[in-house]
Chain length 226, copies 2
């Protein structure tokens, strides 16, 4: 068991491969060439590294014509990379500076079963600003008006409160370093959006895409420009 652990650590530990993992963390699938550009090395070299990661089952690949799309092969792998990302000392967030060069997917991925990524954070901001939820010493609470809002959105808050799992809690996303909404309310929000086809899950990835409808509705309900 130990040697397998060491092998896994070594695989991720190489600088080029770590850069690959970092790139893939946004949930998208990348082609070998894209990765070689992102990581700034030769295609041959990328090919070799991808081979090793595939062999170890850290990545999986899907062939489409002459392209090969690589992604994390399972969520456990993503967790390792995320856990590592969390080791990084947190920078202060200069909110709008980096929003330009956002990769489409770092953009709106699901953090387990709630919305994280840029959209998740923007959503939390919006709900806070509209006083639908209120921050109170590091927890979130739902205001009386908020309760109305949620039921208008088709979410029964009383129902959510009954569930055993944590009701509503701020969840710090590694990629955004800002709070978004987890807990049963987070899940309900996510599900409602899926149900209404504002967003769609992609297969084999934690990334989520926003539909045309979602784009309009998010602007309307949350003043979020996606």
């Amino acid at each position: 068991m130990e040697d397998q652990f060491i092998k896994a650590a070594g695989l991720i530990g190489d600088a080029t491969r770590a850069a690959i993992m970092w790139t893939l963390l946004d949930g998208r699938a990348f082609t070998a060439t894209e990765l070689s550009i992102a990581v700034n090395t030769s295609p041959q070299n990328i090919s070799m590294h991808l081979g090793k990661l595939l062999e170890a089952n850290l990545l999986s690949v899907e062939k489409q014509g002459r392209h090969k799309y690589y992604r994390f092969s399972n969520k456990e792998v993503a967790y390792v990379v995320e856990a590592m990302a969390n080791l990084i000392p947190k920078p202060e967030i200069s909110s709008k500076t980096k929003s330009e060069n956002y990769a489409p997917v770092k953009y709106c991925r699901t953090c387990y079963d709630h919305l994280a990524g840029k959209i998740g954070v923007a959503l939390a901001d919006s709900l806070l600003e509209q006083k639908i939820i209120i921050e109170k010493n590091n927890t979130f609470e739902i205001s009386p008006e908020g309760q109305k809002w949620f039921s208008g959105f088709g979410i029964n808050i009383e129902e959510a409160r009954k569930q055993k799992r944590i009701f509503l809690k701020p969840c710090l996303d590694w990629s955004e370093r800002r709070y978004h909404i987890a807990g049963s309310v987070g899940t309900l929000l996510l599900n409602k959006m899926l149900e209404q086809d504002w967003i769609r899950r992609t297969t084999n990835s934690r990334a989520i895409i926003i539909t045309g409808k979602g784009e309009k509705e998010m602007l309307k309900s949350f003043k979020i420009v996606v």
Copy 2:
């Protein structure tokens, strides 16, 4: 940000350092010499590697006389190592003991020689709730009724008290972040459970599996649903 990620990955990625991390995963603090033995390399080499891990704040050290005790510097580090441990292909689990969120390492692992992981924490909770043990300014004590309970369980508390090692102490588990029971009482509990075939050790792993009998008994004695 990316370069810091790569640096962190590289630090854990070296075989010797990975072995150090693996060793430290059980939660104990180790001296440099102990680590050099566990990892099978020279003291000089260990010293060099520990220096790097310290420098990067992945480990912290405490000096005691001529010994230096190394441990993970924070839970984030432990999470990375645990997440990596979870990458390792799981040994097959008998259907009886399978439970939904089975993760070999987190689930029910031994922390040195007592029960940690999910079960260990639940157990401590149960014993506290039943007032078998009592928390008193960050230590655990056994109540008079508790003493009876333990002897009913086949554990002689007076015997345990005589041992030189720490009798009973709360131990913070990395994976659960809640206290469980260490000390000689913790060991006795663990051994008793093994003896009664409530749980079984797996070869080559810290994980422990719960037997069908254990499942029933734990529910009965501790109201723990496994």
